[in-house]
Structures are given as C-alpha cells and as structure tokens.
C-alpha cells in the first residue's frame, strides 16, 4: 500500500524519500505515520486526506493523498 505524502512549510524537512509513493503498513493511522516520520506531534496542526480535514487517528488507505500542515500565520 502506498500514499502520496506532502509535508508543508516547516514539516517539509520531514519529507521521506519517494514521498509521492510512500509505503504504509496495513491499518496504519496518521498518528503512526507521523511518529514514523519523526514529526513532533505538537508541530502538526492540520491533517488532510484526499482534500478532507481528518483527525490523527484516521486510518490510511492505499492511494490516499495525505497532507501535513503546521501552524501558519504569517502576513
């Protein structure tokens, strides 16, 4: 199973190699993925899967487009 992963802004430094087709385990949640990538949970504010906002306990599925976004407030 693979997801297309995009880490935004300050989280981009946690982008793994081959993020466009990143292998996930069956039953893996967003929180599991975030832990595996080494992203401090406090730095992750917004998760979206296939264009919908989800909570970190959301399960990942093959082909999901996953976006990870930190707090952004600059103007």
């Amino acid at each position: 199973m693979h997801i297309a992963l995009k880490c935004f802004a300050t989280l981009s430094r946690f982008t793994p190699p081959e993020a466009e087709a990143f292998a996930i385990e069956p039953g893996e949640t967003v929180a599991d993925l975030v832990k595996r990538l080494g992203i401090p949970p406090a730095d992750l504010k917004l998760v979206f899967i296939n264009g919908a906002h989800v909570e970190p306990d959301a399960k990942l599925a093959d082909g999901d487009r996953v976006g990870l976004f930190p707090a952004v407030g600059g103007g």
């Binding site: 935004f8 300050t10 979206f48 906002h53 976006g67 707090a71 952004v72 407030g73 600059g74 103007g75």
Partner: protein
C-alpha cells in the same frame, strides 16, 4: 457642462461608445469626465463634509453605472464583474484588519476594483524588513504608520474609494466596534495571536470572514461563514508559527493576497463564497494547490 444639465444628462452627454474586452460594444464615461463632473458636484451645497471629492467621484461613477455607462477605469473589469456587480462593489463596505504584506496587496486590489468603502486597521509602523513583500513599504514610508501609507496609496490609486484608516492595534473589543456596518471582514493579520478573536467577532457581527496566512512558500486562503469552523480554530493562538522559521517571502504573500481578494470580491458582488468551509492550501515551491474541506 452648463449648470442646467442634471448629472445624468451630463454623464450621457460625455459618454462615448467603446469596445469591451470580449468585443461587445458599450458606453464608457471617460476617466477625466468623471473627475470633471465630481469637481462640479463638490461645489454643490451639502457636499462639504468628510471627503467631498471622494464621495463626489463615487456618486458620478454610481450614477453612470445606473445608466448602463461604464466608468473608464473599470473597463477591463467589465467581463468579470457585471454592471450590477460593479454597483454592489461600489456600495459595499469591507473591514480590513492588517496592512502588512497581505493587507497592503489586498487593499490595492480591492481599491482598484472599486470597493466603495474600506476601513482598514493596523497600529504598526514600517520597518526595513517589510521591504521584501509589503506593497505599502517604501524607502519613503519606513518608520511611518502603515495606515497612513495606506490612505495615501488609496488616494493615488482610486480616490472614489471612501477609505478610513485606523492606526491602532485592535483588541477584541475594538474589533467588535470596527466591524459594525461592514459587509465582510478580511483577516490580513500577521501571526496567530489575534486571529481567533477576529474570527469570533466576525461571527458575532454575522458577516463572512476571508482569511489567509503564509510561511515560506506555503500558505492558505479560507472563507469562514458566521458560526463555522475556521483555520484559527485549528491552529490556535499560541502555537509556534512556521513563519518564525521560514519567513514571509513575496511570492507566497502576494499569491495569498490575490486569492483572498478574489474571494472577497466574489462575496461582495453577491456570488456564493467559493471557499466557505474550506481552505485552499498552496505550496509555491512545488506549485501545488489543494482544496481542503474543514
């Protein structure tokens, strides 16, 4: 113009036939004719208060639009905004909070497009580090109030706009007063701290909020309808903000300001908000845009 002519008659007399961008024909009121007619109105009794020239310009432009005659300065808008929509823009009121990177560019777009009433608040003064992105920050305006530079710019760009600058930071109580009478709030604040209060006050005022923020090459734009969840509910007021590490380069700031202005104009001219309940998330480094429903 002889004094015996009414404003409508004068407008008709001065209008000329012209070609629209889409090839159609329309009647256009030349730029200098608007100014001349407004000057004539400015001398009439009852126009001595406030900003007579600004109000007179707006009155001439509105009268022309009501007659189906397009003021020349809006000619390149005419296939995007109908006469009815242009009238709605000229009679609408925006409360713009923040006159930095987002706010300066948003103000420029709203004023050029012909939003009739704009009140804008920012208590900050320009610093050299604003020069990388803030339209209103120039060698001349450094150390001056952002609100003062904004007023001067609107006067240069479109004096028909009734512009009210407020050189003050708004706490939640002042926000509440600032939003009275506005059709729309535009959140062009910097940082996370004040955004939840503005979202809350816009909801209390019963008006939509268009909001945007950037960090580095990434950013978002969103519309929050009264009572709905917004980005500041997700990001909070006290989180460590990504722009503290990544900064705020011009392309992301200007892109976000343009997107938020397009959405603000959609709403003001009576169309459905396109980003209600959603964020448009972008990354200019990878040139990606994604709509996320909240």
């Amino acid at each position: 113009m002889p004094l015996s002519l009414t404003l409508d008659e004068s407008i008709r007399a001065l209008a000329r036939a012209d070609t629209r961008p889409d090839g159609g024909q329309c009647q256009v009121l030349p730029y200098f004719a608007v100014q001349d007619l407004a000057r004539g109105l400015g001398r009439s009794p009852g126009n001595g208060k406030g900003h007579p020239h600004s109000k007179a310009m707006a009155r001439v432009e509105l009268a022309a639009l009501e007659l189906g005659i397009l003021p020349e300065r809006y000619q390149r808008n005419s296939t995007t905004y109908s006469f009815t929509e242009q009238i709605r823009l000229l009679t609408s009121r925006v409360a713009l909070i923040g006159l930095g990177g987002l706010g300066g560019h948003a103000l420029e777009i709203l004023a050029r497009t012909g939003v009739g009433h704009i009140c804008a608040a920012d208590g900050d003064e320009f610093q050299p580090s604003n020069l990388n992105r803030q339209l209103l920050c120039t060698r001349r305006s450094i150390s001056g109030y952002k609100a003062a530079a904004a007023a001067a710019r609107v006067q240069q760009v479109n004096p028909a706009v009734d512009f009210e600058p407020v050189a003050a930071y708004l706490d939640e109580e002042l926000m509440e007063r600032f939003l009275v009478g506005a059709d729309l709030a535009v959140d062009a604040l910097g940082g996370l701290k004040d955004r939840p209060a503005l979202l809350h006050q816009a909801a209390r005022a019963g008006i939509p909020l268009v909001t945007a923020a950037v960090a580095g090459q990434a950013g978002y734009v969103a519309t929050v309808l009264p009572g709905a969840k917004g980005p500041s509910d997700i990001f909070g007021a006290d989180s460590e903000a990504a722009e503290n590490t990544l900064g705020t380069p011009a392309p992301a700031v200007v892109a976000a300001a343009a997107l938020m202005s397009a959405e603000a104009l959609n709403i003001l001219c009576g169309r459905e908000p396109r980003l209600a309940g959603a964020m448009l998330v972008f990354d200019l480094e990878g040139m990606s845009f994604e709509r996320v429903s909240l």
